[in-house]
Symmetry: C2
Subunit: 148 residues, 2 copies
DNA sequence: ATAAATGCAAACCGTTTGCAAGCTC
DNA sequence: GAGCTTGCAAACGGTTTGCATTTAT
């Protein structure tokens, strides 16, 4: 019942034996549609809506595969389950509001300059910088001031 | 068999009904002895060495309590279980080596200036900044160069 | 005496895994 | 046919919880 497809000529990773299946195509599509972070269950639920036979273990197995292939990254926030996001090109900075929970991506000023200083000072080779800000967003700040 | 003590006058939190017990005193002591991050099991094992009747659930329950009281904070690294650390006064920055796993605390240059810029630009009230660097530490960088 | 704290074992829940069946090439 | 992929159900492992007992006030 799954759509029959012609999969050759389109391997996920050159030189490996991984195949592009309908499940994988769907998962990749859902991941690319996801604006920010997502978790396994979210992807699973969305996948079920479109392709009602996929199983949760397939989602997990493929997320692991995608992680290994560098397509997604695992991130660890305050909750008790894994979160993923599309692999960022390099550094990554966001702000999370403690009141409404919104996550806003941003760019950290003076990042390159600070990185250089740290590399030099400590002798590190820095491959990735994660900056996570916490506080009140503009709207919630206003609400707070208004006593709401 | 646990040491009998006079616990009054030393409440964890004034005005609550929480009691200071031998278990709690021991746990707090172990936490304050811990240099950096720790997890529940680590604390449990250390506690067992000194006070051989404490149970893992007591450790968990107290870590939750300490979290609520603001004594420790939960942090989420790449592993699958919770990590804790003593509550930091404010911001927190560290570097983790992808090769040897060492975590090195550091201070991020131009932090205040960058924070001010972000606050202004986005209208955020920033209460906490977490910066997590990943890469190779000095020693591992050397090893890498040497082809080891 | 009363309410909080504890140990134990069982429950929980997100994630992983073994296995047999189904696909892709 | 060989080997990768999948669904299912069972296993796993860290964390939480119910309950009867102990302890602090």
């Amino acid at each position: 019942m799954a759509i029959k497809r012609h999969y050759n000529g389109n391997r996920i990773l050159n030189g490996t034996q991984q195949r592009i299946t309908a499940n994988r195509e769907l998962l990749l599509e859902l991941i690319h549609e996801s604006p920010g972070h997502f978790d396994a269950d979210e992807i699973y639920r969305k996948a079920r809506e479109k392709h009602n036979t996929i199983s949760l273990s397939t989602v997990y197995r493929n997320l692991q595969l995608f992680k290994k292939l560098g397509i997604v990254e695992e991130r660890h926030f305050s909750e008790d389950h894994h979160h993923y996001e599309k692999k960022q090109t390099g550094d990554h900075q966001h702000f999370q509001c403690t009141r409404c929970g919104t996550i806003i991506e941003l760019s950290w000023p003076l990042l390159e300059k600070s990185k250089d200083t740290v590399s030099e000072r400590y002798g590190f080779q820095i491959t990735r910088v994660e900056i996570e800000l916490t506080g009140l967003c503009f709207e919630c700040g206003k609400m707070r001031e208004a006593g709401l």
